[in-house]
């Protein structure tokens, strides 16, 4: 179909506004939205069966909680009443009006510690009632105040579609270089857990040490992998807000609490996971709201004595976001988590929308508030390589995230990496892992395999291990009881002593137990946690502030424009232009007399310091096009260099007043051009070419013809230069401003 046919097809049989067709074609329309339906669990804040907050205490024991008597407590109620609530303070705490507590959360005069202690006496329904009152901006602010650790951090996924260990090692090294405090892997094929674990652990030891690492797999297998020394923490220890969902998840609060203690007994850090809508997805929502059920989950986690939580929808984020206010609810639940004094890895994990705008909007409050781990996690790899399914941000969008840090001067935990170092890090990681595989009799990767992985952006581009080969490697690691100590020795034997030391440093973390405390991460070789670096925000100028160095790091993204660079680029064109045109001054410009004369007023630096338009057309060609056009229209061109102004309108008006016809063209070196007339006001021109980047030589020629037509007092068809909706300001204004300062700097000098 031709363009005309398509247009005709769209316009025939029109029974609605055509804009809806445009909207239907956007990625947003791929998202499904659900109507609010409290009876069926589709409510962010107002479940049909949400209880009112309440607590009765008799003889020092809780006799009812949130309207339910003791005898009717399910296992979650019982665990919360027994292990979370502090009966010594609960009665007083519950009596404080929820609105008052809400105000305390956003009040810089109420310290975090006061609120954290208060939460020990608050029931799930009360916690939910309080945070539900906060607007999105209040939730953001409260969160920045209430997170546990002072400095923000980030977690990344390191996976690939082939479970290829060579690529995992390379990508783990990149993630470490980017500054992720934690990385997480999972597998396409469950049995590859051991090879994934080995590969990521080795890769994460390249360049620096301290990146914590988890391997998300079945609970018992994950524990075994941890015990073998490959991982440094566990996260996917899931809890649920209804008894039946929990049981379908094959656990109880006691079994999960035991698991938590089991990890601690081996010196391994862990956190639990819960997120809105898990109960809805599992079919046991009890007609309760997303937030109320999450408040139960979070009280449960504090009761279990875990140090932290992965929270904020998580796998339920897309479903939660389909409900009105669902994204606000995710913010609310994260606030409950940190209010309960838990480290929080704040979701921004499973991509909740196909709309890039929704994705960017959802992460922003956490970026500007700061979070212990802003993503749980970000895809460090391309979407198709993300074995968890795409995250909010993936390898494709990494630079967008880095720029958001720069835009808002907000620390999202990451730092740009340089072109040159990326390749060498990947090479080192792949070589280190290959050495380990060879030393332990697990495989002998070829140079071709390694090289394909080093340069690849994703697994589609690699020629590496087949899935079957990977499964064999993984099984061998498990069957031969290979441990991380074997890996340390293998690295050391093969000369990778720095990596060997880095791996050993991770193992040594288990002995002191320091990193078991709340919100612990390793920074510059030291443990930072909520214990030695608590969030002490009490208003502007306090809490986490960007150091000068960190500000510089956030600003240092790839490919930034400088004045020197613009001038250097121009100098390259100077030589070529010198072969095409010579500007010969013949004297001061006088008044023209001929009625067919059109003056072209060029800017001060036109052809002397600047040599091509923003669209890349040599100025010699532009001048030629203008002159040809004028002549074709029956006019006579005269070129005058203006030295008193670089402004397009004043160039054009000055030119017009010199011209015999009273018609002039003004043109800047960057290509912005105007047709003007002698008796018009400066900014009230005849025609304006304001979008130089999309203005072509054919447009300048047509401009010349139109000028000639105006000189003959005709009314030509004004020339339209289509922009196609490009954001030209974003693409060009930094360069424009730099160029224009060169133009204005060149005023007042004769050539």
């Amino acid at each position: 179909m031709t363009t005309d046919d398509t247009l005709a097809a769209r316009q025939s049989g029109a029974n609605r506004w055509r804009r809806f067709d445009d909207w239907d074609n956007r990625p947003l329309r791929l998202d499904r939205f659900a109507v609010e339906d409290p009876e069926n669990g589709f409510s962010a804040f107002k479940g049909a069966c949400d209880p009112k907050p309440g607590l009765t205490i008799e003889n020092g024991r809780i006799s009812s909680m949130d309207g339910k008597p003791l005898a009717e407590f399910d296992m979650i109620d019982q665990f919360i009443a027994t292990h979370h609530l502090d009966v010594a303070i609960a009665a007083t705490a519950m009596d404080i009006p929820s609105q008052d507590i809400a105000r305390m959360l956003v009040d810089i005069a109420t310290p975090r510690e006061t609120l954290a202690k208060l939460a020990h006496g608050l029931t799930p329904a009360k916690l939910a009632e309080v945070v539900a009152q906060l607007s999105a901006v209040e939730l953001t602010f409260a969160f920045s105040k209430m997170r546990t650790r002072k400095s923000p951090g980030n977690q990344g996924h390191v996976t690939n579609a082939k479970d290829d260990p060579l690529q995992l090692a390379a990508d783990a090294a990149i993630a470490t270089a980017l500054g992720f405090d934690e990385i997480e892997t999972t597998m396409r094929v469950a049995r590859n857990a051991w090879s994934n674990a080995l590969a990521c652990a080795v890769g994460a030891a390249v360049g620096r040490w301290g990146t914590l690492f988890q391997c998300a797999s079945e609970e018992a297998e994950e524990l075994q992998i941890g015990l073998a020394g490959f991982t440094s923490y566990a996260e996917t220890v899931s809890v649920y807000g209804t008894e039946r969902a929990f049981i379908d998840g094959d656990d109880t609060p006691w079994s999960k609490a035991f698991l938590a203690s089991a990890y601690a007994s081996r010196g391994i850090k862990m956190r639990c996971t819960s997120g809105a809508a898990s109960e809805l997805l599992m079919g046991f929502h009890e007609a309760k709201s997303l937030l109320y059920l999450e408040a139960r989950c979070l009280c449960l986690q504090r009761a279990m004595g875990v140090q932290g939580t992965q929270n904020g929808g998580i796998d339920g984020a897309p479903l939660a976001s389909s409900i009105p206010g669902g994204v606000r609810e995710l913010m609310a639940e994260n606030l409950v988590a940190v209010w309960l004094d838990l480290e929080c890895a704040t979701g921004n994990d499973a991509r909740h929308s196909e709309s890039e705008i929704r994705v960017g909007a959802k992460i922003l409050p956490f970026l500007i508030a700061g979070s212990d781990l802003i993503c749980s996690g970000m895809g460090t790899i391309l979407k198709y390589d993300n074995s968890f399914n795409p995250s909010s941000f993936n390898g494709e969008e990494l630079e967008d995230f880095l720029v958001l840090q720069r835009d808002f001067e907000a620390d999202g935990g990451l730092t740009s990496i340089e072109d040159s170092s990326a390749l060498s890090l990947r090479r080192r990681a792949v070589d280190a892992l290959s050495a380990v595989l060879e030393e332990l009799g697990l495989g002998t990767p070829s140079e071709a395999m390694k090289q394909s992985v080093v340069v690849a952006s994703g697994s589609d581009e690699t020629r590496s291990y087949t899935p079957r080969e990977v499964a064999i490697i993984s099984d061998r690691i498990k069957q031969q009881n290979i441990t991380m100590i074997d890996v340390v020795k293998a690295l050391a034997r093969r000369g990778f002593r720095e990596e060997a030391q880095n791996v050993l440093n991770m193992l040594r973390l288990r002995v002191s137990g320091d990193y078991l405390q709340t919100a612990a991460v390793v920074r510059d070789g030291r443990i930072i946690s909520a214990v030695n670096q608590p969030n002490d925000y009490v208003g502007p100028g306090t809490g986490y502030r960007l150091s000068e160095q960190r500000q510089r790091e956030l600003a240092a993204i790839r490919d930034v424009l400088t004045r020197d660079e613009v001038l250097r680029a121009e100098a390259v064109f100077a030589a070529a232009e010198a072969k095409r045109i010579i500007y010969r001054a013949v004297g001061p410009a006088g008044q023209g007399g001929a009625a067919d004369e059109i003056v072209i007023g060029i800017s001060p630096a036109f052809g002397t310091k600047l040599y091509q338009t923003l669209a890349g057309h040599p100025l010699s060609a532009v001048l030629a096009a203008l002159c040809d056009g004028i002549r074709a229209g029956g006019g006579r061109p005269r070129v005058v260099r203006m030295v008193h102004t670089a402004d397009t309108s004043f160039l054009g008006l000055s030119a017009a007043r010199l011209a015999g016809s009273g018609i002039g063209i003004g043109i800047q070196a960057k290509g912005t051009a105007v047709i003007h007339q002698q008796d018009r006001l400066p900014h009230n021109n005849l025609e304006l070419f304001s979008n130089a980047p999309v203005t072509g030589l054919e447009h300048y020629r047509a401009l010349g013809e139109n000028a000639a037509a105006y000189a003959k007092q005709e009314m030509p068809q004004p020339i339209m230069v289509p922009t196609g909706g490009m954001a030209l300001g974003a693409r060009f204004h930094a360069r424009v401003a730099l160029i224009y300062s060169i133009e204005t700097g060149a005023r007042g000098r004769s050539t």
Partner: protein, 144 residues
Amino acid sequence: MTSSRRPYGVSDFPLAETHPTDVKTANGRPLADITLDAVEAGDFSLSDIRITPRTLLDQAEIARAAGRATLAANFERAAELVDIPQALMLEIYELLRPGRAAEKGVLLDAAKRLRADFGAQQTASFIEEAAAAYERRGLFKSRY
């Protein structure tokens, strides 16, 4: 496992920096001994690089001082589990999952064994509490 010193507080954290000589591995070697050279020489296997009950109790004191009593209780239970063999630990975890134990007695026996063989008082009470809760909520029914 009592201590004759004052309880640790927030300023004692991190232990590896503030009390480096006190932090020891399971076989009594100080943390500082775990060097690359020592590992290469075969002085340390993975099972040597483990936390001790004493260190977990120290971390519990720090957690409590930081206002995190439930985290402290977790560390205290963990301290009791340090010397429990991996296989037994996994077995008890399994028993605590819904429908694994056929009736309350199975869990109570596990609790008794932990008390008797490992002195794990808090963990034993925890399991007894679970047993009562499971009975009340009918969780001893088989699920598959």
